[in-house]
């Protein structure tokens, strides 16, 4: 064995021992947010790399789509004008219907749902491992974000913030196998818990075998977890099986397409839980 080999082996052993120590310390030492220090430091550093790469890929994609969009933009413009006219008429009808519903709601004595306060954030990176479904957004504690704040999109619940640095946050998607949310069937108000399975579908557990659940039913957040605001859409029931136990086996197709997310909203102040979601 040459001296170089000995040096290399010693260096490798040194690095291995150092890593072991860091992991051991990380397992015991928690940051102020209750997250291992190692996780916060590595995530914070890598988020900056993701930010830079996202800017580059975004620029390239923007230039390309800009070029593609130029083709046929005139025809699209005319079509959009027609659609706008139709939508303006539809909007007038909807507003009239909305006014009517508002009056009925006031009559029934329901308190209006408070508007949630949100902060828009761009997705700058996907999860580093396909085994964990996470994504990185470009807003962090400097924008007022904190761990466990819910993240939503116009179509439904996206997930929650798990790690925050000054300029970026890691979001655990609802489809992650460690994720979960209190949920209920909008139609029958049957309660349960929606859990991620690491795949593109969710499963809803702890729904009684005699509960009224059908494929196509909308699943919304129940607010029982204290994180996701009540009434926000989670997905639709894809299949219902009786199962062998006292609970049904329910598969839920998420309302959000997690692979197409570009921009999300972080809920900084949730609505009043008692008022949201309508009658139960």
């Amino acid at each position: 064995m040459t001296a170089t080999d000995v040096r290399q082996r010693t260096a490798v052993l040194f690095v291995a021992v150092m890593l072991g120590h860091i992991l051991l310390i990380s397992a015991q030492v928690q940051s102020r947010a209750g997250v291992p220090v190692l996780e916060v430091v590595t995530f914070g550093a890598f988020a900056e790399v993701q930010r830079a790469l996202s800017a580059v890929t975004g620029g390239v994609r923007g230039a390309w789509t800009g070029y593609v969009n130029l083709r046929g933009v005139r025809a699209e413009n005319e079509q959009l004008k027609r659609q706008l006219g139709e939508l303006q008429i539809q909007f007038q009808q909807e507003r009239a219907a909305g006014e009517h519903a508002h009056q009925l709601e006031a009559l029934l004595g329901f308190q209006r749902q408070s508007n949630v306060q949100t902060i828009a954030a761009n997705v700058i990176g996907a999860g580093a491992s396909p085994d964990f479904r996470t994504m990185t957004i470009d807003k962090g504690s400097s924008s007022g974000l904190k761990a466990n704040m819910p993240v939503i999109s116009p179509t439904g619940v996206v997930g929650r913030i798990v790690t925050v640095t000054a300029r970026a946050s890691k979001v655990q998607l609802l489809v992650d196998r460690n994720a979960g949310a209190g949920a209920l069937v909008e139609r029958s108000r049957a309660q349960g818990v929606v859990l991620g399975a690491g795949e593109d579908v969710l499963r809803m557990d702890y729904v009684s075998g005699i509960a009224d659940v059908k494929p196509g039913d909308t699943i919304v957040a129940s607010g029982i977890d204290g994180i996701y605001p009540k009434g926000f859409v989670i997905g639709k029931v894809e299949s219902v099986d009786r199962g062998t136990g006292i609970y049904k086996i329910i598969r839920v197709r998420p309302a959000v397409d997690f692979n197409r997310l570009e921009e999300v909203l972080v809920v900084t102040i949730p609505p009043e839980t008692s008022a949201a979601g309508g009658p139960s």
Partner: protein, 190 residues
């Protein structure tokens, strides 16, 4: 292969995984470019290179993707699950090491054997990873067989493609010779 070169290769794979993978595949969990990089390094550099690559890649992925304890599950009274830093590192270290040994003991120079190695390595990695979680954390979800199969297929395809690209670049044989690891063991066995 030097540890620094391995680290750079893994870093590039990580960056591509987090930025490009979601645009390239229909499901973001279908492809694992970091894992493909580990197996590639193991096959070209031998067991030590595979071990180092697996350890670096696994720990980096664990630290970056970890989600901690599911407080929602606790609040809802469900069995809790948590991500554990080191499980992915261990799984990738084992796979990198074993793949490196396979690369030195067998001739893996054609696309089909290479695809088979990538496919088997992905399945092996999933078995170790999910097996460890099943032991350490009863709250962890079931085994997604469909996802594992599709991931193994996608990784095999990407791995073969990576080799084709690598071999088409000038100086591949010289680079491979200079990587050392596997070649040294081969000579020693001979």
């Amino acid at each position: 292969m030097r540890a620094a070169a391995i680290a750079v290769f893994i870093a590039i794979a990580l960056a591509l995984q987090t930025t490009l993978a979601r645009y390239l595949t229909p499901g973001a969990n279908v492809i694992d470019l970091v894992f493909v990089a580990v197996v590639y390094i193991a096959l070209t550099g031998g067991p030590v290179a595979g071990l180092v690559a697996g350890a670096i890649a696994g720990l980096a992925q664990d630290a970056l993707a970890a989600t901690g304890v599911s407080m929602i599950s606790i609040a809802a009274g469900v069995a809790t699950a948590r991500s554990i830093i080191g499980v992915g590192g261990l799984a990738k270290t084992v796979v990198g090491f074993v793949t490196g040994i396979i690369g030195t003991q067998f001739i893996v120079a054609r696309p089909i054997p290479r695809a088979l190695v990538f496919f088997t390595a992905t399945v092996g990695h999933a078995m170790i990873f999910l097996g460890l979680y099943a032991v350490l954390d009863p709250g962890y979800g079931g085994t997604p067989y469909g996802t594992i199969a599709s991931q193994a297929g996608a990784n095999a395809l990407t791995g073969v493609l990576l080799f084709q690209i690598g071999e088409s670049l000038p100086g591949f044989v010289d680079r491979r010779r200079s990587m050392g690891g596997g070649m040294r063991i081969n000579r020693r066995l001979d």
